[in-house]
């Protein structure tokens, strides 16, 4: 069955509109600036090393539009993956679904054998640092673990 050019254009236009809406909702790019005038809550952040040593145990302020990435970026030196999954301490590259976190202060994953696993209130997160929108009182734990653990 042949499809006319007009039909192709109409189908494409409809698809592009749907795609635009989908990408808008899927956009997990962290906002570049967070207004830190009015605190909306606090999160409890814990970072564990691979030998299960507690390295960081802080209460961090939560502001409007904060993602886990923006909160961590405000307080610690982060290392993110660049487009080739190599460490980049400027976190200048964000994937379509956000940043890939490789390191916080001195705790760094090499991506190949170790990973920074994120837990929200004890449950392993299904999204990355840019996709997690913490709520007041959340306990966020990051553990450096062997990949297959």
């Amino acid at each position: 069955m042949k499809i006319s050019l007009v039909t192709k254009v109409i189908i494409t236009a409809v698809m592009v509109i749907i795609l635009g809406v989908m990408i808008y909702f899927l956009n997990t790019q962290s906002p570049s600036e967070i207004t830190t005038e009015e605190k909306i809550g606090e999160i409890h952040f814990r970072l564990y090393n691979e030998d299960d040593t507690l390295v960081i145990d802080d209460m961090l302020n939560l502001y409007h539009d904060d993602t886990l990435f923006t909160i961590l970026n405000r307080h610690y030196d982060l290392v993110c993956a660049d487009r080739n999954y190599q460490p980049d301490d400027t976190c200048s590259y964000s994937f379509i679904n956000g940043y890939v976190l490789l390191g916080i202060d001195d705790i760094e994953s090499d991506w190949y054998t170790t990973v920074l696993s994120i837990y929200v209130n004890g449950d392993l997160a299904v999204e990355g640092v840019s996709g997690i929108d913490p709520k007041d009182g959340d306990v966020i734990t990051i553990r450096k673990t062997d990949y297959h653990e």
């Binding site: 069955m1 042949k2 499809i3 192709k8 189908i11 494409t12 698809m15 592009v16 749907i18 795609l19 989908m22 990408i23 909702f25 899927l26 487009r83 080739n84 999954y85 379509i96 679904n97 991506w111 190949y112 054998t113 449950d123 392993l124 299904v126 999204e127 996709g131 990949y147 297959h148």
Partner: protein, 170 residues
Amino acid sequence: MNKQIKVMTLLALATSVLMVQELVLSFLPIQLTTVLLMIYTSVFGLRKTMLMMTIHVIIDNILLGSIGMFNIVIPMWLAWALIIIIFNFVSKRSSNLVIYMIVAYFFGHLYGLMFVPFQALLLNIDIIDYLLIDLLWEVVMGITNVILVIWIYEPMNRYLSKLYQRYMNV
């Protein structure tokens, strides 16, 4: 020229096209991989396309550092393999572009769904949460596939078929 050398050169070139387009488009949620594999299946056949896809999966995972991560490599290979096998079956029975569009849309879901059991079981992630988050990305891939099939499939398939026949007959 020896026919085997010609085939090997062709496979290398076609595989590099698969790789390069993925790297070039990595900043967008759009890839030509599905539609290219559909075209390759139609033009080069099932076996050659499976071989190209396997090389592509290996190189892709080496570049991304995920070659040792079986929860990524295995479902990726399985998904692409199923897409090629299904399209080989469909294209031998129909040349209807509408059917190709529908099939291409479902390839978006097939690709995403293939990762679910591996991610959920190996990483101990809640399967329903993962499914819900991934569903939107599957729709994005499906819609992209449809748009690309509408505009690229027929002209590129025709062009590549002619080129392939001429190349193999020289």
